[in-house]
Symmetry: C2
Subunit: 436 residues, 2 copies
């Protein structure tokens, strides 16, 4: 099972930026940055910290609803506008924005992301999601979310239209010929897309992005999600609670990519929650400190959302009641299967389950010294578990500062993480070729 | 007719930023910035120049199609993303982005603009347009543009939904109570909008904008456009070829605003093309230099778009053939009526008409010394023609540098333009109250 470590293969690491951190109670900490969530300088400083650590990119999730506002801030600044500013406060690090294929039109999405790729000098990625919740759908004209299969058919068509629009200007279309043409009309072509969901004539009104295509990220645990990833994803944000789960997903996706006839590396980057400190005891204390800030009511509401049933009456100190099997669950599959796995392998009390879910929602967690964190990351990296990680610091900015100051030097010493950027585009950080 | 000039009343001046300038041939000039149109630093420097001149705002038009790419660059960076970056390179000047009510959903528009208002610290305006062209419609799923009346019904409902979303968080909703609520759920309310075109439950996932509402700009010469402006516009970008046209529009809008029961100042800012130099001869030479760069074919294609008929076979040196009267024209009314007015008052040759239209499409033009330019601006300002101007420099960056260095000091000397910003929000520059 152990793969030999090539000298060239390097980990990819993103900072998954979320409010005051991924632990739901992080904002309650006396030193949290909760008052700064509307201040772009807070986001710029986080990006600068991640860049100091030579990370590949800053990753944004997104939602189209406000969520439960009493629990904490899930959204404040909108990612695309925030990224435009953050890219100007940095020089090398990439930025990945989630954009929903269910709520945008391909023309807007292609244009906004292409414009960001120009503004940032080629440092943008697009995480395509189909969105999930009826509360989001009802902000965009639907009564409820379209079904899972329809959303994925739409996403597939959406991606094809966006890629077509990015290619609607040839790389050498711009002539700047002061006596003749600004651009060569023969190299700026309509795409005339007509499909089940979209009509988009094109061409785009933004010349071809610096990277050709901004990097296409995807995450999806369902059959349709994996198939979409196999066909078009260039990098993947995965959810894996432990190494066996990570390996199963990793090998399945690599197999599917190959089966789809694609001869490409598709870096797979599971989410990773780390509590890191010079000693294990200090790291455990950091975790406990956040867990103790957690109000159980809000956590129960979050769990209810994940499992799509009311659990407000459940006993916190009793075992979690049995849940329907995965195949009977119609919501997002990845997180639900993780919850089933935690229950199956650990038989936690409801309170213990909430603790697990409060930071990172069932992603892998590591609590320990820089050496312990690096050990586990390397173990996954060398054993078909991951090509890198999407860091989900429980609290921000401290969580990313800890990681950059303590874990990054350890990974660099071990030769598995870059000590300098080798290029200036996200595509170059991820080792991806520029599409023709 | 002459109104007395109160000491308090000050002109409002925006820079209407467009590629290499508003003259269609500006990009052909040997010193044009055409190679920099994908470089955000070019836009940031323009905003800094405008801020040095204490202008109210930088204004962006927008389009959802590429246009004729051989003619020049009409779009490159997308305005919302560019503004996010530009706002971080400046401290006081406002930014107004056009966002189409026909192609966006209210939730996206409200969210993107609200996010920019937070990022910029309250310096954002939204110019609501209904869009015009079938080539744009076909990039967003339509076969053709919806009719004029339908577009304006949609715009009306769109604006109401956006305002509702901006108000869905009370100003004091955020509590940051670490022992309790992040935000007061009673002060973050759904809007439950259901209308002819939209269903938007809300609340928005961005807290209330810094300005309460980003400033609502509007431009519209048609009956429906004027009615929409009267009901909801806080400032207006107008098209007026000469003072009588400006006065007629100005008085009509002020009357309609009053009739709509609104006790508010709605600054009216006609577009203004200036060629300015220390002597009139030098200013005329600047104009001639650009006009001589104009290829007649491209100009004829532009004219064809404005009047919605093919004119490629027309004789350049013969009088312009008769055009259908305004009431038979279904496209955008403002520009068409200006063209009719130029033809009626000046009986130009086709070539002369093209010259008029090449810079600013029939807006008012002034060619002269700083004193002459200031004279005409003041004359309009003091005679019910304008509360300010939306500057359309024929070439950029030189056109705005000339204006800031030569005309602004002259206006300041005359006491009709600010010498320092009195506040830090666009709303404060425009003298508009913050909505409750």
């Amino acid at each position: 099972m152990a793969a030999s470590q090539s000298e060239q293969r390097m980990m990819h690491i993103n900072l998954f930026l979320m409010g005051c951190g991924h632990h739901r109670a992080a904002w309650r900490h006396p030193q949290s940055a909760v008052e700064q969530l509307g201040d772009i300088r807070y986001y710029e400083r986080l990006a600068q910290t991640a860049e100091r650590g030579k990370l590949d990119a800053v990753f944004f999730a997104d939602s189209n609803s406000a969520g439960n506002v009493s629990d904490g801030s899930w959204w404040y600044l909108e990612p695309l506008t925030a990224i435009a500013a953050m890219s100007r406060a940095t020089e090398n690090i990439g930025f990945i924005s989630t954009v929903s294929s269910t709520f945008y039109t391909p023309f807007h999405a292609a244009r906004l992301v292409a414009s960001l790729d120009h503004i940032s000098g080629g440092r943008i990625g697009w995480n395509v999601v189909t969105s999930m919740f009826d509360v989001e759908a009802r902000n965009h004209g639907y009564e409820a979310m379209p079904g899972h299969a329809e959303r994925y058919r739409r996403a597939d068509e959406f991606v094809q239209a966006v890629l077509g629009l990015w290619d609607s200007w040839a790389d050498d279309a711009l002539m700047f010929d002061r006596q003749g043409h600004y651009a060569d009309p023969a190299k700026v072509r309509p795409i005339n897309h007509k499909g089940e969901f979209f009509r988009v004539d094109g061409p785009l009104n933004v010349p071809r992005p610096v990277q050709g295509h901004p990097v296409l990220f995807q995450a999806g645990a369902s059959e349709q999600g994996r198939e979409l990833a196999a066909r078009c994803a260039e990098a993947i944000y995965a959810v894996a609670y432990d190494l066996p789960a990570a390996q199963s997903y990793y090998r399945d996706i690599k197999r599917r990519v190959k089966a789809a006839g694609r001869d490409v590396t598709v870096p797979i980057m599971p989410g990773l929650v780390t509590y890191v400190a010079p000693t294990e005891a200090e790291a455990l204390a950091k975790q406990r400190e956040l867990d103790e800030l957690l109000p159980s009511e809000a956590s129960l509401r979050q769990l209810a959302m994940f499992i799509d049933q009311d659990c407000s009456g459940w006993d916190l100190d009793a075992p979690v009641p049995p849940l329907p099997p995965l195949e009977e669950f119609s919501g997002p599959q990845g997180r639900y299967s993780t919850i089933l796995r935690i229950i199956e392998t650990e038989q936690p009390s409801l309170r213990q389950l909430l603790g697990r879910l409060a930071a990172g929602g069932g992603h892998c967690s590591i609590v320990g010294t820089p050496g312990q964190v690096a050990d586990k990351m390397e173990h996954w990296f060398n054993n078909d578990g991951a090509d890198g990680f999407n860091l989900m610091p429980p609290s921000l900015p401290s969580g990313i500062e800890d990681f950059v100051e303590q874990v990054v030097p350890e990974l660099q010493r071990r030769g598995v993480f870059r000590t300098e950027y080798q290029g200036h585009t996200l595509r170059s950080h991820l080792g991806l070729a520029r599409p023709e």
